[in-house]
Symmetry: C2
Subunit: 159 residues, 2 copies
DNA sequence: GACTATCATTTGCAAACGCAATTATTGTTG
DNA sequence: CAACAATAATTGCGTTTGCAAATGATAGTC
């Protein structure tokens, strides 16, 4: 018998949403939203990114990200410059101010994660992370299959 | 050295967002959004729920859910009735139409999940689910601790 | 049994979001 | 090299979201 509450997407989403809520509130006092933190931490890890790459890295929809970067630039956290050799792309970077801020936030993120998983053997968490990374990869390969199922349905309906 | 892309919340969110996107598109042809599916599947599992309980079960913010239920009622998928004995709460239920629809969608959800995790030993997935459920529980217990850290920071700043 | 506190839901409002269309630039090809 | 296709980012627009305030209803208190 199927139960939503035992399905993988449900269990996953629930933890994700809840952690997001908690961490959002944790960093709100620094004047930063969670998506902003994600962008800064992503740029701290890999700087000089194009918008599309940053969108892929953060799983933020590209138009949403474009506006978010606009706001963050306005706040002096990042720079966004058109490339000279390829002016249809932009390069996004942390400003010194953004770097200082994210380096203040990262220890908080580390502590948050530690507290969240401290009741579990670190081996379990490590395995969990590995599986999550692998599942993410495999989702890309099933995407065409999913779309296929849609098309099949549409075709069936059309006739 | 910290890396966002190796942090638990990041890995989790990424898979959650991606699965949500894919499944959303998968069911869009049925005229249903992902939050609507979650509500219907939750009600299919446990009917006659109050708004607050349904919010907790689906991890949908209560005001958002209130409006969503309004829309779903308008579409004839659910009923929302004030109780006679306690008129400050409402009971939400699937209509026959809603039930029929969700019973059409559930096999799709099952198939989706199967495809998403088919490359992994089912033991791993089972463990993963267990850990996710446990982490969710433990998040509730750390919430006060997180809030505490906020207060401490505010106090420090105030002086 | 009026007054206040508490609980459950809804609503006002501004911000965030996602899709589709648009703009800007570069790449291709006949 | 002109026309067209492809790529990258932005913008228009309607929808969804979340917080805080308001509403509606019940429970406790003196």
């Amino acid at each position: 018998m199927y139960r939503l509450t035992n399905s993988f997407p449900y269990l996953l989403n629930r933890v994700g949403v809840r952690m997001g809520e908690l961490f959002s509130r944790r960093i709100a006092g620094y004047g930063v939203t969670l998506p902003m933190y994600r962008v800064m931490a992503a740029l701290w890890e890999i700087g000089d990114q194009r918008l599309g790459d940053l969108a892929a890295m953060t799983t933020i929809e590209i138009s949403t990200l474009s506006r978010l970067i606009g706001e963050m630039k306005r706040r002096g956290l990042v720079t966004r410059t058109r490339l000279k050799d390829n002016a249809r792309t932009v390069a996004i970077n942390l400003t010194p101010k953004g770097r200082t801020l994210v380096e203040e936030l990262i220890p908080i993120a580390i502590h948050f994660e530690e507290v969240a998983v401290r009741d579990f053997p670190s081996k379990n968490i490590l395995d969990l992370k590995t599986v999550l990374a692998e599942i993410y990869q495999s989702l890309n390969s099933i995407e065409p299959e999913i779309e296929e199922a849609n098309k099949a349905r549409k075709a069936a309906k059309a006739k």
